[in-house]
Symmetry: C2
Subunit: 364 residues, 2 copies
Amino acid sequence: MKVRREDRPGENAPGPVEEGSAGPGRPTIKAVAAAAGVSTATVSQAVNGTGRISEATRRRVLTAAAELGWSPSASATALRRARTRTIALVVRRPTDVLGVDPHFSELITGLEGELAPRGYGLLLHLVPGLAEESALYERLVAEGRIDGAVLTEARSDDPRPGLLQRLGLPAVLLGSPERGGPVPGVGLGQQGAGVREAVAHLLALGHRRIAYVAGPAELVHTGARRTAFEQALAEAGLRPAAVRHTDFTEEAAVAVTEELLALPERPTALVFPNDSMAVCGMGAAQRAGLRVPADVSVVGYDNLPLGRWLHPRLSSVDQQVQRVGAAAALTLLARCGEDVPTALLEGRPRLVVRESTGPAPAAP
Amino acid sequence: MKVRREDRPGENAPGPVEEGSAGPGRPTIKAVAAAAGVSTATVSQAVNGTGRISEATRRRVLTAAAELGWSPSASATALRRARTRTIALVVRRPTDVLGVDPHFSELITGLEGELAPRGYGLLLHLVPGLAEESALYERLVAEGRIDGAVLTEARSDDPRPGLLQRLGLPAVLLGSPERGGPVPGVGLGQQGAGVREAVAHLLALGHRRIAYVAGPAELVHTGARRTAFEQALAEAGLRPAAVRHTDFTEEAAVAVTEELLALPERPTALVFPNDSMAVCGMGAAQRAGLRVPADVSVVGYDNLPLGRWLHPRLSSVDQQVQRVGAAAALTLLARCGEDVPTALLEGRPRLVVRESTGPAPAAP
DNA sequence: ACCCGCAGGTATATCGATTAACCAACGTCG
DNA sequence: CGACGTTGGTTAATCGATATACCTGCGGGT
């Protein structure tokens, strides 16, 4: 396919002959332009659907690009357009033990489902603490590496939304009820509903001494769920057998469980803030010689796949982490100027009853 | 928050307050050069340590950069240097059920530990199958988005090393014994040793009917471990009670366990290819009314944190996924031309004995 | 006095794609 | 017939950083 250009004799604009096959590197837009017999501007317009290009040349360019296996260089495009098509997800991982792990797997699955089809990538980072997380955002923004960020585990007095707004980085905040604002929250509505349902379920089974294991006090959802728990009990004229705050480590789950089960008035049911901890709690209870659910009922939160396969199968509050992840991605993409359907996140957390909850043991 | 447009945003460097939050966008190398009273070339050389710059100006440039909060634009650098400082990790996820999930969390932890301190980012992608994985690499390379890739779950006839070599992308392959070559394998040596140790342990406990649940036949380590299993038994003059291949789904784990436990000569011990499946198997056994380990012993593989908290605690083969991840990162970084210590991966897989294995039940 | 060498920078082309501005050819209409 | 709008492109500036080639003093050797 030879291209002859002789309109302007004497003009030597770019004239260098590519003469292909010399370059082992990837093809550039120039190669495609040459192959299609057009200018690089035309190629760009053809693949982007901008400008005024006849359908015929458009097709010609596209086939040339396909034949050469060319895709626009992400770096060049990013530099020119100041968009990287990359979203950051920073996971805080205080210790080596990552209790909330499977939760993030679900979340990532949901995110990827919406990001990948639109050519967006997910940049994953692990940091030890909140300070490092903030520093990381600053660096990523300073380097222009990302277009947006997904913030997880909203805190009551979260420094990140302010920071990211100041940095001018689009973001969404998971686990926050605040829908509008510069950094919108994303998540199922009626956060308390799941816990409420769990309490109702336990009450119906005859439980009267129900203990609540809460997550770190600084997390937003911790407070919401704890309140829901206490209210639900109060409406039945009851008080919590106990409420304990913990970090999200497995060690804490075990320790707290052991402490609660050693209480003089032993609780007959334990409600945990996530499935990983519930599993640990269940293990601790069984190890203490108690049967689940005959002696003590256990409820988790998140409804992770794992819970279905344990013995006994774990009753848990389903908050559709995957769907929340998808919604978060869509919301964030919209903030990045992408044309996406608005994320609709219907429904509320619902209890999934399995085998780890049962009738309260007869009072001795 | 008024935005004044005067075509000269950087008129006076020490302005009152950086022209407001909606104003200037991020600083560029030009701003730093102006602030330090040098050329952009000097700034570049100062931060990169290249060229010949006096210590005095170097320091001046660095402080100017720090004051402006400037870091070189990742896109610009990537374009110029043709390096993105980004590594891809593609996770194959055949169905919605991701049995190997926690394994990847560990792996990512190990990778990040080496990547992050060197300014590298981890680009995470989820794909449904092998074909999509290959297509994804092609796209990522065509777009020049990554400098290297971590391939997981080596297969006996793996198309990816060839592909990536053809694409000219540095890569490492996890779970392959082949150390050299264009795409070196990374992992603990003596893959069979862990299984061998598990068998020895079970034999010592008096087990004679031991069944093996293997992963998908196409995976390299599946074959290696299966062979090790059979050899170890053969050396004791025994044959496997059964060997079953499965995909890595939880459903399969449960189904296989139920089948094995229904065998006329019921196995007294089950060896699983990963901890997630072992958990499922343990659950299935318990649900079938058997006690673990009194009636049947269970061994997992990977030694994930979760196993420590179950009841009974899971005996499992530790293959130090995190350390392997770190070694993979180092090997890959070296291939990317980074100056890193060579990854040394001493040791071999070792059995961690906990509570899910016990003396074989007395023959009836 | 003259040239050399060198320390310490600067000017500029370049990476690959996008986009605003421009231009040629071709009706069309007053 | 000539001004004018359309169609379908092209030219060239630009994004921000890097690297190569090129200056400019200045001290020293002969």
